[in-house]
């Protein structure tokens, strides 16, 4: 397997604060990796280190089999797209696209050829002689992508490229980036805090927190089998319901505030007996019914519901715990109604309270 990017024991400290903690990450050629996490998790820092815009305290970065840890950004064979577009306001679109090539003293014919190709791919040909100030947000971001494109590099770095756009444009450009990837087959490293972008774009997602990769896996894997409580809570909207309790009978059932739930059919490892554990249930993996089923349901009272078009999000109270359930809008119960929540145990996750890891 050829690696496009290898991050080896990368560490970065700002004074006493450690932003990246001995990080390791291998990206295969042509892969689309999304770095996902809340702000301050180190995802942008990692990207800036890959670009050579930040110097690591320790560790190495290899791109295309070369150690580039101390190389200048333009020597690394990367192109980068920024959140604020970062277009040079006094240059035309053409000037913006060709600035890097002119700095590299590339012959004019070759520059023109590359600019033409990039503007053809991104359909920005008619804009070439305008200044960035005269462009819309979406057009600006296209130009910013074009600036990475003309460099004809193997690795694209995206730093929250769609965060400044409104919802509609964001979904349009998301599709466009995906199309670009399938056409160019470059390696792409994409930083975002938006899980929809991560789930839709990525071949693999690296969920980060506190300068550490919490889980690196394909989107479906992350969604269905979150490695720990943080990943489980961060991915999915609304958030997963966490039921505190304990496991009984060597891991055959779960006790939540006196309600026993069968763990038969749980698709994880051996659960075992744990005096403190957490059962994680996504809102779409619960069913509202009127009849109790021993070992399968949790009694709850409906508080409010939030209809959202096709679905409705129902908020309930089970003991002291607030829970949410997603139901089709025509099946929503009345507030105040006492109901029973049926657990789909195949999609549940059990976490150890101490280690917070999935069992």
């Amino acid at each position: 397997m050829t690696y496009s990017i290898q991050v080896k024991d990368l560490t970065l400290n700002f004074g006493a604060v450690s932003v990246l903690k001995t990080m390791n990450l291998d990206v295969t050629e042509g892969e689309f990796i999304v770095l996902l996490g809340p702000s301050g998790c180190g995802k942008s820092t990692l990207l800036n280190c890959l670009a050579g815009l930040l110097e690591p305290s320790d560790g190495e970065i290899w791109i295309k089999g070369k150690n580039v840890t101390w190389a200048e950004p333009n020597e690394r064979g990367i192109g980068m797209v920024f959140q604020s577009y970062a277009l040079y306001p006094q240059m035309t679109v053409r000037g913006n696209l060709s600035f890097g090539l002119r700095n590299a003293r590339m012959p004019k014919g070759e520059i023109d050829k590359r600019v033409a190709r990039a503007s053809e791919i991104l359909q920005i040909g008619p804009l070439l002689d305008r200044k960035p100030g005269a462009l819309s947000g979406g057009q600006r971001q296209r130009v910013a992508i074009g600036r990475a494109l003309v460099r004809d590099v193997d690795v694209f770095l995206f730093d929250e490229p769609l965060s400044n756009l409104d919802a509609k444009l964001r979904s349009e450009l998301r599709v466009e980036i995906k199309r670009l990837h399938s056409r160019l087959k470059n390696t792409m490293v994409y930083v975002t805090h938006d899980q929809i972008e991560a789930l839709t774009l990525a071949d693999r997602i690296a969920v980060m927190k506190g300068g550490v990769i919490q889980q690196l896996a394909a989107p479906q894997e992350i969604y269905n089998r979150p490695a720990n409580l943080f990943v489980a809570g961060f991915i999915g909207s609304p958030s997963m319901n966490f039921l505190p309790g304990q496991t009984l009978d060597g891991g055959r059932s779960f006790d939540f505030a006196g309600t026993r739930i069968d763990l038969e059919g749980y698709e994880g490892g051996a659960v075992g007996t744990r005096s403190k554990a957490i059962l994680g249930l996504r809102p779409e993996h619960l069913l509202i019914q009127t009849q109790p089923e021993p070992g399968r349901t949790i009694p709850a009272t409906v508080e409010i519901d939030e209809p959202m078009g096709a679905d409705s999000l129902v908020w309930l109270r089970a003991g002291d715990l607030a829970m949410s359930v997603r139901v089709p809008v025509e099946q929503r119960p009345q507030p105040g109604q006492a109901v029973h929540l049926r657990v789909d145990i195949r999609h549940a996750s059990v976490f150890d309270s101490e280690t917070e890891a999935r069992v």
Binding site: P73, N74, A86, D159
Partner: protein, 300 residues
């Protein structure tokens, strides 16, 4: 002046209920009285400079001239005496130009590069030096005057244009560096990063990316420096040497000469001439001047 109000599109303070109420009248009254106090010296200056001496001795300083004469202006420019020389203010004017132009250019070049380096290329200790520099700008010049004289003597430039240019460059640096640093720091850092990915180096980023988009701040810096250096008295009198004295020093010598009859019309004409360059800049630049002093001061 009639007080006439339109409803404000975008009220800031409390909006007036009625078109003409006592509070509004009081506000306009105070503003107008204050304006008269501020305008009065300019009026007196111009009126006096246009009168002949006999009329000045008899008349009232506020009254306009009965007979307008520009004689005092000509004398002030061409033949007014400072000490033993009687070549007029024009000598001082050209000295001031020779001092101001290089000082402004050199100090802005150095300060813009320093401000750029400080905002994008931080290295260990750079902020410390900058803090010292800003603190230093509060130190009274008298404290550093004599050591600077000694340094200039060592360099063999004491009493020359070079000395006064050097001193102006030094003392212009804190405020200008601060001005440029704050401006560059307000630009998106991603622009700088993008330029680095595009392979531009320290000077490439500065000249190709930052300078072309920073015209306003350079204009503000020029305004600030031209006004400040043109108006300087202390450094001119100490460092420039007698034959290079700037206009302010000459003006003071003309007006406060102890011998001879006082020619007030000539004095006022000389005063206006000395104030003309900064006043012109002020009236032309308007908002930029205000922006300059506010930017330089509000976030010190």
């Amino acid at each position: 002046m009639t007080v006439q109000l339109k409803t404000a599109q975008n009220p800031r303070g409390p909006r007036p209920r009625r078109i003409l109420n006592p509070t509004r009248l009081m506000i306009y009254g105070v503003l107008i009285v204050a304006a008269l106090y501020y305008i009065m010296p300019l009026w007196v200056m111009v009126m006096t400079s246009l009168k002949g001496m006999p009329e000045i001795r008899l008349g009232n300083i506020f009254s306009p001239p009965m007979e307008v004469t520009f004689e005092a202006w000509g004398k002030a420019w061409n033949t007014a005496c400072t000490g033993l020389q009687c070549e007029g203010l024009k000598v001082g004017f050209w000295n001031s130009v020779q001092i101001t132009v290089p000082s402004v250019v050199i100090s802005i070049i150095i300060a813009s590069v320093s401000g750029y380096a400080l905002s994008f290329w931080k290295f260990k200790g750079s902020e410390t030096y900058f803090t010292i520099l800003i603190f230093g700008s509060f130190i009274p010049y008298q404290v550093m005057l004599f050591p600077l004289v000694m340094i200039c003597r060592e360099l063999g430039i004491y009493g020359t244009l070079s000395a006064v240019i050097l001193v102006h460059t030094i003392f212009g640096m804190p405020i200008l560096t601060l001005l440029f640093r704050n401006y560059f720091a307000s630009l998106p850092e991603e622009l700088f990063k993008a330029a680095r990915v595009d392979g531009a180096g320290f000077w490439g980023i500065f000249f190709k990316v930052l300078v072309p988009m920073s015209t306003p701040i350079f204009v503000v810096a020029v305004i600030l420096q031209v006004t400040g250096i043109w108006n300087d008295f202390l450094f001119g009198v100490v460092f420039a040497g007698t034959k290079n004295w700037p206009m302010t020093v000459q003006l003071n010598n003309i007006v406060n000469a102890t011998q001879g009859v006082k020619e007030y019309n000539l004095n006022m004409a000389a005063t206006i001439l000395t104030g003309l360059v900064p006043l012109t800049i002020y009236f032309i630049s308007g908002k930029l001047f205000v922006r300059g002093i506010a930017a330089g001061a509000v976030k010190g």
